[in-house]
């Protein structure tokens, strides 16, 4: 059956979900971290470490879900380490983030050397497209359970930040550490907890990479996806549900180049690869203004501080 240009649209949709899922987890983690007033650039290392841990545990135990859990725990530990270091005076969190990025990727490559060859059990996928006769649509609607969990986490996170005492504490700490201290809140402990949870989510995002798509463990697995989370969170206006849409948009933009190839447009492959970055930059240029700060930005992070 000939699908032609519709095929492009379907492929973009499928790519949005497939490529966007790790971005969803990483950006949710970063969103929580930034809401508490800290930036974690080390999520790149966390992502790679999560991918390695998930793959290794899944291989040894035979259970991919255990791998996902352990990936999350590994990410949590890295996040806690990052945040603990940052909680000392005069320690720059961007610098620590870059050092953590090196440390995390280095550790993952170091420990992950033996896992490049063998293949681990893969995470199962859910066929939402079983009703359709079009193979492309079927392929696009093969969704991993982690994506659905990501949606749940996004909505839950948004609700918790808005409606629970814990969410309020995180936001107060992010808005003004001084105000939080005046209220008697333990600023550093809240930030460490938020960053550790952020690392947990990023670790899960990493395990998705190695256990589902592209489904292998190699050293070039994550090409700056963890770093991009910082840009995505700004794009999403520090809102968890915004992270969901932005991740889907990002995944779709990343899938545009390859899917256009299928209808015979092959030139400018690398330029199409750059579309997500150009798009983010363009949106930031349009929406930023020197005259006001962004809606939703935690004040501890504002550049004009």
């Amino acid at each position: 059956m000939e699908v032609g240009w519709w095929g492009v649209l379907i492929a973009v949709l499928g790519g949005a979900i497939r490529i966007g899922t790790p971005f969803l987890f990483v950006s949710l983690g970063e969103c929580l971290t930034e809401k508490s007033g800290r930036i974690n650039l080390g999520l790149e290392g966390t992502l790679v470490m999560g991918a390695m841990t998930g793959y290794a545990v899944s291989l040894h135990s035979g259970s991919p879900w255990l791998g996902v859990l352990c990936a999350g725990l590994a990410g949590m530990m890295l996040g806690a380490l990052h945040s603990w270091l940052c909680s000392f005076r005069r320690v720059n969190d961007i610098a620590v983030g870059i050092a953590m990025m090196l440390f995390g990727t280095g550790l993952a490559f170091f420990l992950g050397k033996p896992y490049i060859q063998p293949s681990a059990p893969r995470l199962p996928s859910i066929d939402l497209g079983a009703w359709s006769d079009i193979p492309q649509l079927k392929a696009a609607l093969q969704i991993n359970a982690l994506f659905l969990m990501g949606i749940v986490v996004a909505i839950a996170l948004a609700w918790m930040l808005k409606n629970t005492a814990w969410g309020l504490k995180v936001r107060v700490v992010g808005e003004s550490a001084d105000a939080a201290r005046a209220l008697g809140l333990p600023v550093d402990r809240i930030r460490i907890l938020s960053t550790a949870q952020g690392g947990f989510l990023a670790g899960i995002g990493g395990s998705y990479l190695s256990l589902y798509y592209p489904f292998n463990w190699s050293e070039g697995l994550s090409s700056g996806q963890g770093l991009m989370a910082v840009a995505l969170v700004i794009f999403a206006r520090w809102h968890p549900v915004g992270c969901l849409w932005v991740s889907l948009l990002w995944g779709g933009a990343a899938a545009l180049g390859p899917s256009l190839q299928s209808v015979g447009i092959t030139g400018g492959y690398y330029i199409f690869n750059a579309i997500p970055y150009i798009m983010t930059l363009a949106v930031m240029i349009i929406t930023c203004s020197p005259k006001r700060t962004l809606v939703g930005v935690p004040h501890e992070l504002t550049v004009t501080r």
Binding site: F88, R89, I98, L102, F103, G104, A108, Y277, M284, I285
Partner: protein
């Protein structure tokens, strides 16, 4: 020292004798004149990319776009060299350096301009620009400027052996190292001994005070970003003209990111960048021998870099405490 102990424990847990590993690393990095040269060759681009982060740091900007500046500088330099194939080598090299610096400089200036005119976070925009620069490089070397002979590894045409940067007589070192050292010294002089540098430090300390004093803050941002990017572009030009002879994706060798760390550890001081870059160059140079001698994966040095920098950053907090104690004592 703390980082050495931590890394020693790490290596020991991986089943190697830590003391032997350190001996190997020292030999590989600084032990012989050959390994010194190896170290210095790796340190040269680090000095230049560290300036990419250090100079904007004076203005309080955190720019992590060194990688993009290297890529753009290398690409522009290679294209410039190919555009004037018949010119004498000296002219070609000068043109390459100038065009490479302009390319890298303009690339970082985009980030600075966005920061000033649109209040776009410069850290994020320079990060995005890195990826866009790499995409442009890959696009151009696979299409317009592709050398048909480079089958598996798309590259531009070779710039010609005559146009390569030579080595310093009596060594295997190329002149890129001199570029790095000279650039650091110039940057230090510029920032600490000129009116321009003084104005930048004021603007970095307090933007409003600088505006009240009538300083053109916006212009300072643009100029500093251009100079910083020019340093990165020069690093890219050196990579092309001294090592690869052509522009391709090997330009994207993480010198930009390692330079950020060098800048942070050197606390943005251009003179401190030189020893820190040599140290990091040594660590990087030792990775190959470490791998052969102890059967440790090459990622071992990545772990070591991470530990070292975490400990150094951590020690920043101790400086504060010590000075407090001293004040109290005095």
């Amino acid at each position: 020292m703390v980082s050495m102990v931590l890394f020693g424990i790490f290596v020991a847990s991986a089943g190697a004798d830590p003391i032997e590993v350190y001996q190997t690393m020292y030999r590989a990095a600084f032990g012989t004149s050959f390994s010194w040269q190896n170290t210095l060759i790796r340190a040269a681009p680090l000095m230049l990319t560290a300036l990419c982060t250090a100079l904007p740091g004076y203005l309080g900007l955190i720019i992590i776009g060194g990688e993009g500046a290297v890529v753009m500088g290398g690409l522009f330099a290679a294209i410039a060299a190919l555009a004037i194939p018949t010119a004498p080598p000296m002219v070609v090299l000068t043109t390459m350096a100038v065009v490479g610096m302009v390319g890298g400089g303009l690339w970082l200036t985009i980030g600075g301009a966005l920061r000033h005119y649109r209040a776009v976070n410069e850290t994020i925009s320079s990060l995005l620009l890195n990826y866009i620069a790499i995409a442009i490089l890959n696009h151009l070397v696979t299409s317009t400027f592709r050398d048909p002979e480079s089958l598996n590894h798309p590259s531009t045409h070779h710039i010609g052996e005559a146009n390569m940067i030579g080595v310093i007589p009596g060594t295997d070192l190329h002149w890129g190292l001199v570029f790095g050292v000279v650039a650091c010294v110039i940057a230090w002089f510029l920032m600490h001994h000129t009116v321009f540098g003084f104005a930048s430090q004021i603007a970095g300390g307090n933007v409003r005070a600088a505006q009240i004093a009538g300083l053109p803050v916006g212009r300072l941002i643009l100029i500093i970003c251009f100079v910083a990017g020019a340093a990165g572009g020069l690093a890219g030009m050196v990579e092309v003209a001294a090592i690869h002879g052509r522009a391709n994706d090997t330009l994207n060798a993480n010198y930009g990111y390692a330079g950020i760390l060098v800048a942070f550890v050197a606390r943005n001081n251009p003179l401190a960048i030189i020893p820190v870059a040599i140290l990091l160059g040594g660590i990087r140079a030792s990775s190959g021998l470490l791998q052969r001698a102890h059967e440790l994966p090459d990622a071992t040095v990545l772990v070591m870099q991470g530990i070292i920098f975490l400990v150094i950053l951590f020690s920043e907090t101790l400086y504060g405490r010590f000075s407090k104690l001293q004040n109290r004592g005095g």
